[in-house]
Amino acid sequence: MIADKLSSLLLDTTEANYDARGFHVQHTASADTLPQISEAFLSENFHLEMITCQDRRENDDKFRLIYQFNQYGTPQRHVIHADIAPDATAPSIAKIFPAADWYEREIFDMYGVTFDGHPDLKRILMEEDYFGHPLLKDFVDPPNPYRSEDDA
């Protein structure tokens, strides 16, 4: 059972009301245990649904990585929150779940969070010589020729 495998790894687990939240179980974990957690989910035939990130520097000076795992057998969506410090790196799970490759590149592109052990961590949505990370709360895109509001 997945719960047994996770119990030694996860910091905090709460059951959630699926109808209200859209997932069944929520875990809070430390970022360095993410590879072990992913291994556990993989061994129980789970797949990675998505990875996303939140810029919570205004709240508690952290970036929150959010992973979702689900399986086809008995639908049970697990959401994992892992907080990291703004200057810290997170471990990549692209070697365990290949689907994580582009999600991690997207998070790197949009938030500037770097992933250790990623095979090819480069921008995915913005052009490669872009300077910033657009989804950060304090991001301001300077005037550029592609926007009408910046026309002289």
Partner: protein, 177 residues
Amino acid sequence: MAQTELPLVTSDPKDIEELREQVGPLVHMDLLENLLNHARSRSLWPLTFGLACCAIEMMAAGAARFDLDRIGAGVFRPSARQADVMILAGTISRKMATPIKTLWDQMPSPKWAIAMGGCTIDGGPFKYPGQYAIVEGADKIVPVDVYVPGCPPRPEALFAALFKLEEKIRAGKKFKK
């Protein structure tokens, strides 16, 4: 017009200029140019190239029900070197701006561009103050000849744009920009 005395043999640019004004061009290329423009307008070869959802409508326009081949514009060329018209069908993301510019530069003149759909006119639904993701209008990167409004435009609208472009090509230099 008052005729002035001009020397029979001259190399003075002023005299040559005056001579031109009085006599007009010695060889008229207009007929040939008209014929070429007519041929060009009846065989517009678009670039095989779609950017977003408008491209689906462009494909529908090219397929059997609407059939762009009826007006000679159904030969979608896979190489920019053989294409006459670039149909910009869909949202132009910032990352795509450079490849589009490259493709446009690779197309041999004479060449034309059709901006299809709201996104290529001014950014459409993706435009907001401070946005970082898209190019607000195809005319920021290539010179656009015809704009087609719609989200996405019907295939008939694309046909109308091609007819408009044909008119423009056939008008040649008489077309005032």
